[in-house]
């Protein structure tokens, strides 16, 4: 198990991070954008846990951090969804391209 180099894990987490970012950049639906953000946060979680496990196993900083991230992410998602729902009520759409009233 320790034969898996840390960089491989980091490769995966980084890749996940950028997949999420890709989704954020391209998805027009706000909910899918939110899902992309969840991916990003997950990749960070992986990072924390992996660093904790591989590099600094004597303390649990990374693990705790990831726990808090999960919590915060949940809260964030809840608020975001509430906002999206309200947006839907006001705009009858959750397409990000259609919510560009304010610009320039």
């Amino acid at each position: 198990m320790s034969s898996i180099p840390l960089t491989h894990i980091l490769f995966v987490s980084t890749a996940l991070f950028f997949i999420g970012m890709y989704g954020l950049f391209t998805r027009r639906n706000l909910i899918t954008m939110l899902m992309s953000i969840e991916l990003i946060l997950n990749s960070v979680n992986i990072n924390f846990v992996a660093f904790n496990k591989y590099l600094y196993p004597d303390k649990l900083n990374g693990v705790f951090f990831s726990l808090f991230i999960i919590t915060v992410a949940a809260a964030e998602a809840a608020v975001a969804i509430a906002i999206i729902i309200n947006l839907y009520r006001n705009h009858r759409s959750i397409d990000v391209e259609e919510t560009q009233e304010m610009k320039y």
Partner: protein, 469 residues
């Protein structure tokens, strides 16, 4: 231990108590908006007063919570700002259905800010940051039926989530590179290698997002425009101020070994910020949007000050934020009042404002002058000291650019003044009756604008608490 706990964390505790009082009120009784407003403002005043009692230095919870007189002062500045915002939003809130919720959210963000400023640890910092921004997104949506309000909230929460994703990625890399989350331990591991620079940039972007540094500023204007004025003023002043405080202390303590790198970064960013902020502000027609871009430009000036990285710089930044609280809130106070009564927010609506509302006009004008940095308002002193501390590094190119940009910023502030005093208008904003709370807020702001600058004591005091390297 318990005494320490109570004394050192007094401000956070008081805020928490207030939150719960309001929560209980909300759940338990049917109480009129006016009463809640009175109560909330009273409690906030109490909180502010308590902030000045018994300043101590110390840390709690294994360096997760630090405090010292400067931090207490910073919190007091934020409390003061909160009080002013609360007073100003009274008129808007009276008509609103969710007054206690507004206060709860507001105070939660304030609490988050307090923890963020006091954080001695990246985890606390992160949580504080999120606590100060997630409820804000909800607050941005507080004009529930308004399309722009919900669009603003959406933009804010999306940008903010994305920014915190990047910030977290940065934090994870920092954690990976240093093995610790505690600031004091971290500093020893900072070497300025390329990974650390990358991680630093990610962290920086997190800060930069909150204080709207170009190119991380794009959300600002839209959110400011769409959000209710009270939230906008809160965002532009208190939220920014708190992140700035945290930013300075993180930069000066944790990343001190990388000073050469971040100095140049801030150089580039500050120039960009001032320039872009100014260029965009020139063109704005919505006064809130205009204030958004102007506040971006202000942040550019603050960055110039931060590059100074001396005791002077810290003091100047804190001092400027204090002044900025007064000036920007004075401006927003008028805008809020006008917006609450008439719903008009365009610059052109302010044409002929002086004819109908001389007092409000003067308040707005003085506030704008302070933002522009015109003596004898405090803004002049604030900007002067910021630029001076920036100049302390000997980088006069930066200072020259900043100073020349003052001309542009001057232009757009004067544009508003021109509209108020000089332009004719068929339908000027009608004569407004200034409610007592708003009046109080304005008086506080104007007195602040005038006294903070001219009384050298304020700056001296802040300087004596400051640090630098």
């Amino acid at each position: 231990m318990l005494i320490d706990f109570i004394i050192l964390m007094k401000q956070e505790l008081i805020i928490t108590v207030i939150i719960f009082i309001l929560l209980l009120l909300k759940i338990g009784t049917d109480i009129s908006n006016e009463k809640i407003l009175n109560l909330a403002n009273g409690l906030l005043l109490l909180n502010l007063a308590a902030g000045f009692v018994g300043n101590q230095q110390g840390m709690l919870f294994n360096e997760m919570f630090l405090t010292n007189p400067l931090i207490v002062l910073e919190k007091n500045i934020l409390s003061l700002g909160t009080l002013i915002v609360s007073l100003q939003s009274a008129d808007w809130l009276k008509k609103h259905d969710h007054v206690p919720e507004f206060y709860i959210l507001l105070l939660c963000t304030l609490l988050g800010m307090f923890f963020m400023i006091s954080a001695g640890n990246l985890l606390m910092f992160y949580i504080g940051l999120e606590l100060s921004s997630i409820p804000l997104a909800a607050m941005a949506n507080f004009d529930l039926g308004k399309r722009r309000s919900s669009e603003a909230a959406m933009k804010f929460i999306m940008s903010s989530a994305f920014a915190s994703g990047l910030l977290l990625f940065g934090i994870s890399l920092v954690y990976g590179a240093t093995g610790t989350l505690t600031f004091s331990e971290m500093a020893g591991h900072i070497t300025g290698g390329s990974l650390q620079v990358f991680a630093f940039v990610l962290l920086l972007s997190g800060f930069a997002f909150k204080i709207s540094v170009v190119p991380f500023h794009l959300w600002t204007a839209d959110v400011y425009e769409g959000a209710p004025v009270a939230v906008t003023s809160w965002l532009s002043v208190i939220s920014k101020g708190s992140v700035l405080f945290a930013f300075v202390s993180v930069l000066y303590t944790v990343f001190k070994p990388m000073a050469a790198t971040w100095y140049n970064m801030l150089f580039v960013l500050s120039v960009l910020t001032i320039l872009i902020g100014n260029l965009f502000a020139i063109r704005q027609n919505n006064i809130k949007r205009f204030l958004a871009f102007s506040s971006i430009a202000q942040i550019g000036f603050i960055l110039v000050g931060i590059t100074g990285s001396s005791q002077l710089a810290t003091a100047s930044v804190v001092y400027f934020v204090l002044i900025y609280v007064f000036s920007n809130l004075a401006a927003f106070g008028v805008v809020a009042l006008v917006s609450a009564v008439t719903g008009r927010e365009q610059v052109s609506d302010y044409k002929g404002f002086y004819k109908t509302n001389p007092v409000l006009s003067w308040v707005l004008t003085i506030a704008l002058f302070s933002l522009a940095g015109v003596p004898p308002t405090a803004g002049f002193f604030g900007k002067f000291f910021l630029l001076m501390s920036g100049a302390g590094k000997g980088n006069y190119v930066l200072i020259t650019i900043a100073a020349l940009n003052m001309i542009i910023s001057f232009y757009y502030y004067l544009r508003i003044v021109k509209a108020i005093f000089m332009d004719a208008n068929e339908q000027p904003i009608e004569r407004l009756i200034i409610p007592a709370y708003a009046k109080l807020a304005m008086v506080i702001c104007i007195v602040g604008i005038i006294v903070t600058g001219l009384a050298g004591y304020v700056y001296d005091y802040i300087h004596s608490l400051s640090f630098g390297f």
